[in-house]
Symmetry: C2
Subunit: 341 residues, 2 copies
DNA sequence: AATCTGTGCGCAAACGGTTTCAAAGTGAAT
DNA sequence: ATTCACTTTGAAACCGTTTGCGCACAGATT
């Protein structure tokens, strides 16, 4: 691991010159010949600046962290991709850190991350202790929430979940469904709340009376989808369609339906939220609403970089642009007793 | 962001004392009362050591990186989980970095990562330029390959892919299949080669003659599975079963089969390699071989930490313990013309 | 010849820690 | 009173960078 000193020795100059040459410092001039020598020496030694030393001096290390609770959730894959691209484009390093269930330790975790390792963090945790956010605000640490908003957090970038949900439910309504269930996400998650809101608005706009029995709350897991669908189909007057708050929930619901002998879409239509390869691999293919998740990632990085540089700019952004991806999980209901009555 | 100096000032001692107290230095004794004062001062200020400064001095930052090509691949999720647990247990920080297609830049990427940001790297890239490995070896950087071996790499931890493949194919043979196709992975991936090897060995052991037409090579992608299955079923004498080298390939194959009107398992049985939630969500549920991926992650971290500490130990480990997870994608073939002849 | 204006380079002080070494203080033994 | 051993603390070097500042030397100006 050669240092500036080594390069300087080889080139026969002082290390400060090496630093200036390598950083292309405009404020001091160095003779063309010296510049050459330095560059050759650096090349020969395979010199690479030490990120630690530089970071210590500069108070910035050129990397950002994206903290995610669960790597295997496909939702994050897309956010990550977007964040990664944006970070790369602006010459930054994106590091991923998973909190992997170690919830109580999240705060220390963040501390350790922020005390030098990275310049700022993007938090994608759906469930996040308010204490963590308070600590970040108090410590004036550069952070931004992505796909999640909070009373306490000043900065976030989210998708328009309500509009997306509206899209999904409207699709079912257009297809003739009147009795539509909702497999909702965890009430602690902001996204889940907004999706439920969109669901209600869609019903309302269509003049369908909201039936409390048709929404079952759970978590964003396949298991939750399984349980929920079971609950819905065993209702005295079961729904003809369900809107699942999440791709995993939808997948779980389909899985359970299959085991229960409920055919999709013949017996039950289903539309999910968020699109990923999984939606296509399911059988039948799952109709979903595609959210601009990649954009979320990009925007979050942009905002974070602005914060680290102390530049002004929007601090809450909600990205619109949800769109329906039709596959095979929804059937059209013919006009029946309902409309005839 | 308080520093040692701040704490020292508040406690009325020299900063070196603070360092010693906070690090619980055994080699120097400090008066109990002073210790108290220092600890209180640190507490009051919310002092947290700067990872950069410490790392610069100590030549170790307490974090490791796991480099993965594609976050969305479920195979990695499990490796990550194992690595994470092991890292946490030994007081280290695991950072994830995705190379996300930026192949040509992998080397610089690694450089940037290793020059201070982390103490060592675990590479999970299935496809990895030899130049990268050579550079790592030449630079004496702490690294280990996981789920991948290479001629050039001294250190790796892998699963026994051949044994796993054997398990999968034997299962098909036991179920009466004689004409078994193989959707192989990329010939550049070590795992793909070993799985193909296991496939051939299984056939051989059962006295089934190897038919070159029955193996189609591709990549570890769903698309590859789609193309492969199409190719196999359009053979003049198509197989009754296929062994897919990978979960994604299997999923793609099932998807394509469905669209082609080939029923699974009635018309075609399929077994995949590697287990994840996806296998269960597919319809029908996919029979797969479960590989000890979590163990791979754990073992890789252990090995890497040994390397960074300069401790001796095994440098190539292959983890056994693959097991078959039966679901619904394989049907039993009754004795027919084949065995009767 | 003395002064001025640049150019090209080196010195040294940070950045925030860890750790070696020596000095100061304490009490007991000589 | 002096020596000694031991505890407690401070001073300073160092890790590898960046950067403000000053020095030396060149050529141009008076």
């Amino acid at each position: 691991m050669p240092t500036l000193r080594d390069v300087a020795r080889l080139a026969g100059v002082h290390l400060s010159i090496v630093s200036r040459v390598l950083n292309d410092d405009k404020k001091t001039s160095v003779k063309e010949e010296t510049r050459q020598r330095v560059q050759e020496a650096a090349e020969a030694l395979g010199y690479w600046p030490n990120a630690l030393a530089r970071g210590l001096k500069m108070k910035s290390v050129g990397s950002l962290a994206l903290v995610i609770p669960d790597i295997s959730n496909p939702v994050y894959a897309e956010i990550i991709r977007g964040a990664e691209q944006e970070a790369r484009q602006s010459g930054h390093f994106l590091l991923l850190a998973s909190t992997a269930g170690a919830d109580p330790r999240t705060l220390e975790f963040m501390q350790a991350l922020l005390e030098g390792r990275v310049d700022g963090v993007i938090l994608a945790n759906a469930l996040l202790d308010d204490a963590v956010i308070d600590a970040l605000e108090a410590g004036r640490y550069p952070y931004v929430l992505v796909n999640r908003r909070s009373q306490r957090a000043r900065r976030y970038v989210v998708a328009d979940d309500a509009a997306g949900a509206l899209l999904a439910v409207n699709h079912l309504i257009e297809r003739g469904h009147r009795r539509i269930g909702h497999l909702a996400g965890p009430p602690t998650a902001d996204t889940a709340l907004n999706r439920k809101l969109g669901y209600r608005h869609a019903l309302e706009a269509a003049g369908i009376v909201f039936d409390r029995d048709l929404v079952v709350e759970g978590s964003y897991s396949t298991e939750s989808g399984r349980i929920g669908v079971q609950q819905l189909v065993s209702l005295p007057h079961p729904p003809t369609a369900v809107f699942a708050a999440n791709l995993r929930v939808a997948a779980g619901a389909m899985d359970a339906a299959r085991r229960l002998g409920v055919r999709i879409p013949d017996d039950l239509s289903i539309v999910g939220m968020h699109d990923a390869e999984l939606a296509e691999l399911l059988s039948p293919g799952l109709t979903t609403v595609r959210l601009p998740l990649e954009g979320l990632g990009r925007e979050a990085v942009r905002m974070l970089l602005r914060v680290t540089r102390g530049e002004p700019g929007p601090e809450q952004v909600v990205l619109t642009g949800a769109e329906l991806v039709e596959r095979e999980s929804v059937r059209t209901i013919q006009e029946t007793a309902h409309s005839a009555s």
